[in-house]
């Protein structure tokens, strides 16, 4: 069952054009839609816990590792962010307790989301590596998925390192979202592990991955680039200057940066790196 259908079963009718649902213990449900914001009924703490359990298929053990990171991803790619008391053993999170709020981001599959920069990925007939950059909620993942699909349709062997299940939303090994006919997906594991295994296992021409920022991710992508693989990735940053200040994003891997901004999916700037 898709996430929106589940939410409808749990919360009643949802507004149309829904982009995000925020549920806070003891506060009204907040719906962010394409045409603005709406509020629903108050969510008591016990109902919030029941909604979390239902979204997690009543199987919190299966989401335990993700919950420690503060989110889990549904089968259709929608991400459920979870806030509460994060129990830590020193620096290491061990459990998420006393859940206070949930943020469900509705996964959008938009064909043509990469139209604004797809042409720039090529220099003549040669494909270039690109980094898609924006703040949260401006369509990086949607654009990345669409670019993966188009490259795959255009004849490239595309491999997706999908740590959070958001790009392909694989359920039992089958992508729920359209990522193209020549695409292989390794999901559920850290990106640097997926990238090194994809290099060995699937002989990719293009590796696609979302939200890089860990030093190990950067090193794995650097290694892939040295093997002649083109990289398509995304990173959080408000501007290209902010991006340059991020130590764990190795810009020498990429040929160009695509900055999204102002409104979801809109290309603000394309800059050669």
């Amino acid at each position: 069952m898709r996430t929106l259908e589940r939410l409808e079963a749990l919360l009643g009718a949802l507004p149309s054009g829904l982009l995000e649902v925020r549920l806070r213990s003891g506060k009204p449900a907040q719906y962010r839609c394409a045409d603005g914001e709406r509020f629903g009924e108050v969510i008591p703490p016990e109902r919030l816990r029941a909604i979390l359990a239902a979204l997690a298929d009543h199987s919190l053990y299966a989401r335990e590792a993700e919950l420690k990171q503060g989110y889990f991803t549904m089968d259709d790619g929608c991400r459920v962010g979870v806030c509460g008391r994060l129990v830590c053993d020193g620096e290491r999170p061990t459990a998420m307790a006393d859940i206070g709020s949930l943020c469900v981001r509705v996964c959008r599959e938009i064909r043509g989301a990469c139209d604004g920069f797809y042409g720039a990925l090529f220099e003549g007939k040669s494909l270039r590596s690109a980094l898609i950059v924006s703040g949260p909620g401006l369509g990086k993942t949607t654009a990345l998925r669409d670019a993966a699909r188009r490259l795959s349709e255009d004849g490239y062997n595309v491999c997706i390192a999908d740590e959070r299940h958001e790009l392909a939303a694989c359920a039992q090994g089958v992508p729920a979202l359209d990522v193209g006919p020549r695409t292989d997906v390794m999901d559920g594991c850290p990106k640097h592990i997926a990238v090194t295994r994809l290099l060995r296992a699937a002989s990719p021409q293009v590796i696609v991955t979302d939200e890089i920022g860990d030093r190990r991710d950067a090193e794995a992508l650097q290694e892939a680039a040295r093997c002649g693989v083109r990289i398509l990735a995304s990173a959080h940053a408000g501007s290209l200057e902010q991006l340059a200040a991020r130590r764990n994003v190795y810009l020498d891997v990429f040929d160009l940066a695509v900055l999204l901004g102002d409104e979801p999916g809109r290309v603000k700037e394309i800059r050669a790196l």
Partner: protein, 166 residues
């Protein structure tokens, strides 16, 4: 004629006694199926992190499968168990042979199944299996006793009726 009728009465009463002992045998079979089913669920839950509904349906135990089939987004494991228990607990249903002690163990299982982290779930499954194993041992002993008791009682009752008839 009276002699044949008396023989029929003895045989009938003995069979009735055997049927009464059948409940104890059904309980043994059910407990065995539950223990095996929990054993089959374990790798699906603990090893492959599959959702609890899918693990229940993969258990191969009709009772556990029935609980899994009841699960939906708004229906958790304990609610699904309550529905299955109502449906299967009637006379002749899938769990009418279970004792209140067996049911209590299953209540504990379904109250906590899926509600905690991996380590606690593993402890829960281990604990429930061990408790069911203990009940199974006791149930197996009772089967022998019940067989002897009810069959003897049935045969004796049949003989008494036959003597009265003759």
């Amino acid at each position: 004629m009276r002699f044949v009728l008396a023989l029929c009465v003895v045989a009938g009463c003995t069979l009735s006694g055997s049927a009464m002992a059948g409940a104890a045998r059904r309980r043994v079979r059910l407990l065995e199926a539950l223990i095996q089913g929990i054993g089959r669920m374990r790798p699906h839950m603990i090893g492959m992190f599959e959702p609890v509904g899918r693990a229940l349906e993969a258990s191969g135990c009709p009772l556990l499968e029935a609980v899994g089939a009841q699960m939906q987004p708004g229906v958790g494991v304990s609610e699904a168990w309550a529905v299955a228990r109502r449906a299967e607990g009637r006379r002749g249903g899938g769990i009418d042979a279970l004792t209140p002690e067996d049911t209590e163990i299953l209540n504990r299982l379904f109250d906590q199944l899926g509600e905690t982290g991996r380590d606690q779930q593993e402890l829960l499954l281990t604990g429930v299996s061990a408790a069911l194993e203990r009940n199974l041992e006791a149930a197996r002993k009772r089967v022998g006793e019940a067989d002897r008791l009810y069959i003897s009682l049935g045969a004796l009752t049949g003989l008494m009726i036959a003597l009265i008839l003759i």
